[in-house]
Symmetry: C2
Subunit: 395 residues, 2 copies
């Protein structure tokens, strides 16, 4: 009745990879609480506390949903219990270090404090970076889920052409796309790790609304329907001769797809056309050069050089205070997976990373244009997973 | 182009109410970071740090989106700056206590730690309870937004009858309802304060899937599409003679509506019919007795008594480990606003509270039935805000 879950061997491989990181950082074990991370290591999001020791066997303490957790997760040690049970577990485990990891980037203070009470003799350290590094390299199973997500996005990006007419509102287009993806298995929600970010499944932005600066860590924000949700589609009607940027996400069986295309009814200003060409040029650069060993920050720097050489740096990835410092982000269980293609992410690409590259240009009052595609890093280069043509769609 | 925002007088009133709580608890001021809380006190969710001193003027330090923050928020003191600016602000403010409040129930540890560095001379204490108490009493403006949300839900709960046929899948019904509400201004997302809860806009659960126990703090969970999203509609086809429970949320201009009805194509087992009657009986009890001064925990206890007197306590609000300990929850900017109608919420109802009451019954393998409606507490009683008939809909 449900999608295929995560297999036993896969879970084993994930946990072993994470345990290597724990040992390398002298962390005796990790308490994993966030739904996404817990799902990654167990195959279930039922209410529970996961303990992964650096050496030895992981234990899932289920607080609610024990039957379902046992059905969904291939883990061997699944027990019913309260969070406080972690105290005994750590004592019994003879852990190799007094440092215990938690997801300090996402766990709220009060929950952290509760767990700290159970762990009076250990030091709690942040293990989120290690979890994200573990999740950064995708398995064949994960890549196949992302391919499914990408192919549904391809379908939607083609199908949306049928309804883009002058006078339709952004939010009507958004509602239509949401309807299509949900029927095809979108799980009803996007997941983003960054706090206060609230990722939507689509941004349909036309003309001026594409240039509105927002709180969101994204080159484009949109008007939204209200100040309480100041992003995404709003009530603006789509007009002729303005860029319609559709940045479309989806989440299939836990895995995210993220793609963007520029549409226009009529024709576009030459400046926008040229900026779109420059976005394509950056994608071409990426496709020709990305491979294991190339550094993420270097790709970012090269992209900025290309934008600058076209005289477009002022508008690249936003303008003014709206500028963001990345051109791509890993995708997987979260839309802000590692790696980040940014000046601060000084790590090389590796085989089986999946990421969305989104070089975009934002022009004040005029809007946003650019291509976003999903790529898979392979042993000797890169494969574009999203399939539709990398061009402006004139309607 | 956007919905009506929050007015200046309204914001002033909200801040003053909160300041009274701060003073009463000897807290010198509060740093407010979460989107929802910040929106409540400012009218904007642009990236920023809000400081509300117990006495004196609040300041909004905007990190990104300054122009938009100034357009959206009626606050007087809006400045562009980094989070570290809070240090100067607190020093300059001559605050009346060394205790400074933060939203420790939602702020992640790493963000808390960052702010703690700016505030070496103060003690940070949890102010979330005071914020939630401030937000618990709704203004006329807020009530009017919730009325709008409720009336769209009423429309949808009627319109869904047209597509409920044997063979349609839960997820198809979900997609259709999502499409309708988004076109009518649903802001694209529900907000729930509880960590790891991930609230969806609708649960369409039919027969057995309505009885599946899940991690969610809700009497019903649903199969969902996959273990990664183990709640809500799944791929199950709707059949004749089984309960179809539609628990429908919406968020209009920031404000949430939440309503549930039971539908059936054909006829229902007598036990389920009787349980539905008992749900209605609890609503009737509530409508006759709820008014300012009546305690939330007493309402809960009376509801349990009614369920018990009908011999149905075993199935009330879930069965076995799936049982939850509440029958209603405040609604406003979040779906888990105060008050909670639970044994642990020992506070009286007050005028201008808005809440959803959801006495439901879950029968193993058979499914879930029950009514959920939105109520407004008035000076002398209660008004039901959702408008459609409180009965089973036979199709």
């Amino acid at each position: 009745m449900q999608e295929e879950g995560v297999g036993k061997e896969e879970i084993k491989m994930r946990i072993e990879r994470f345990q290597k990181y724990l040992k390398a950082h002298d962390i005796g074990g990790a308490i994993i609480l966030q739904n996404v991370d817990r799902y990654y290591f167990t195959g279930t999001i039922q209410s529970s506390t996961l303990f992964i020791p650096a050496e030895g066997e992981e234990v899932l303490i289920v607080h609610k949903g024990i039957e379902r957790a046992m059905e969904e997760s291939p883990l061997k040690n699944i027990v019913k219990g309260k969070p406080s049970r972690i105290e005994d577990l750590i004592r019994e485990n003879k852990i190799s270090s007094e440092r215990i990891g938690m997801e300090l980037d996402v766990v709220p203070v009060n929950i952290y404090t509760k767990y700290k009470r159970y762990l009076s003799n250990v030091n709690i350290v942040d293990a989120s970076h290690l979890i994200r590094k573990t999740r950064m390299i995708k398995s064949e199973y994960e890549i196949s889920q992302i391919r499914r997500a990408a192919s549904i996005l391809d379908e939607n990006m083609n199908q949306v052409k049928e309804i883009l007419k002058p006078g339709i509102t952004e939010i009507e287009v958004d509602a239509y796309l949401g309807y299509l993806i949900r029927k095809k298995g979108h799980m009803g929600m996007m997941r983003m790790r960054g706090w206060n970010q609230e990722m939507m499944y689509v941004h349909v932005l036309s003309g001026r609304t594409g240039s509105l600066i927002s709180f969101l860590d994204s080159p484009q924000g949109g008007a939204g329907t209200c100040a309480a949700m100041a992003q995404g589609a709003g009530y603006k009607k789509i007009e002729r001769n303005e860029p319609i940027e559709i940045d479309h996400g989806i989440c299939i069986n836990g895995y995210i797809g993220d793609q963007a295309r520029t549409y226009v009814i009529g024709d576009l200003d030459d400046r926008l056309k040229r900026a779109h060409e420059c976005s394509y040029e950056i994608h071409r650069f990426f496709m020709e050069n990305a491979r294991p060993g190339i550094y993420c920050n270097e790709i970012y720097n090269e992209a900025v050089k290309i934008a600058s050489s076209w005289g477009l740096n002022e508008y690249f990835m936003g303008y003014g205070e709206g500028k963001v410092k990345f051109i791509g982000h890993g995708i997987g269980l979260e839309i802000d997976d590692f790696p980040v293609i940014s000046p601060n992410f000084k790590e090389p690409l590796q085989e089986n990373m999946t990421l969305s590259l989104e070089p975009k240009f934002v022009f004040p009052e005029m809007g946003v244009v650019g291509l976003e595609d999903i790529y898979l890093i392979k042993g000797d280069g890169v494969e574009r997973i999203t399939g539709i043509e990398q061009r402006i769609f004139y309607l």
